[in-house]
């Protein structure tokens, strides 16, 4: 019974934060202060919440608020990495000589949840010079363009930072959830046999 209570509280917190987020986005995109229009806005937020509830789409995966606190330090770092990678790839394209060395390689993801791995794979793809071609369990298949982009990935700095982000270092504890899968390799096998 206590477990159900905890899950209920957890669900309510997600619903509430989704409501705040939707209202914020609605107001930013409309900018109206008329009472009638704001009433319609509140109505549409409630409708969207109801639809999300019916679709069973309010959970840590579709609405990862537990990552929000970590994002404050992670995204500025990622942005700077993107700027450096842009410079590297732009130079390689302009020179168009030996610096363009496409390579394929495997990279291990140390994250335990699927949201964490998707964040890592997305960050790799977002950084110019590296693209995630495939994810198999904790194994990412990477296509890299230059020596610099390959070495940048091999330092594992991004992997560490995404794992720290996933563990919610400094985040509000009410939203942080225990890892779903303790053994990433096992779940990948299970998932393959399920599909």
């Amino acid at each position: 019974m206590r477990v159900i209570g905890l899950i209920g509280v957890w669900y309510m917190l997600h619903t509430f934060s989704l409501a705040v987020l939707l209202s914020g986005v609605w107001w930013l995109l409309s900018g109206y202060t008329l009472v009638l229009i704001i009433g319609l806005g509140i109505g549409s937020v409630i409708l969207v919440l109801y639809i999300c509830h019916r679709m069973d789409a309010i959970d840590h995966e579709t609405h990862p608020v537990h990552l929000a606190a970590g994002c404050i330090t992670y995204y500025p770092w990622l942005l700077w990495e993107i700027v450096l990678a842009n410079w590297d790839v732009a130079k390689a394209i302009l020179k168009n000589d030996d610096t363009v060395r496409p390579r394929l390689m495997h990279v291990k993801a140390s994250q335990v949840s699927e949201v964490g791995r998707v964040t890592y794979a997305n960050s790799i793809t977002l950084t110019p010079g590296t693209v995630t071609l495939d994810i198999e369990g904790a194994d990412l298949l990477i296509h890299s363009l230059t020596q610099g982009s390959k070495e940048g990935l091999e330092t594992g700095e991004m992997d560490r930072r995404v794992t720290a982000l996933e563990l919610g270092k400094g985040g509000p504890s009410a939203f942080s959830q225990p890892a779903l899968h303790d053994h990433p390799e096992d779940t990948s096998v299970k998932r393959d046999s399920e599909t």
């Binding site: 993107i82 700027v83 732009a90 394209i93 168009n96 363009v100 394929l104 390689m105 960050s123 110019p128």
Partner: protein
Amino acid sequence: MELVLDVVSWGFILAGSGFCLIGGLGLIRLRDMYARKHGASLIDTLGIGLILTGLMVQAGFTLVTAKLFLILVFVFFTSPTTTHALARAALNSGLVPDVDKDSPIKQGAVPSKK
């Protein structure tokens, strides 16, 4: 003040256009589809990022800036998803990446999904 803001925003917009141009050049110049994707990602990171930042400087502290920022956020979340979907579709349909000799995974040893 007006002049400073104009100069700053035009600086951002021109730099962003430069990255878009280089990205476009990469789309033509690089050797195969997988390598060309890296040229495209130049456009949808710093290319669009700098242009939108320049427009935000033009708009000042208004709702327009908030909307431009939201566009930036959505682009940063959707563009890697589409890039990955396209690259994975190419891999699964049997397009072999043209890779360098010292690649950790050799040419032709690409794990196939079939």
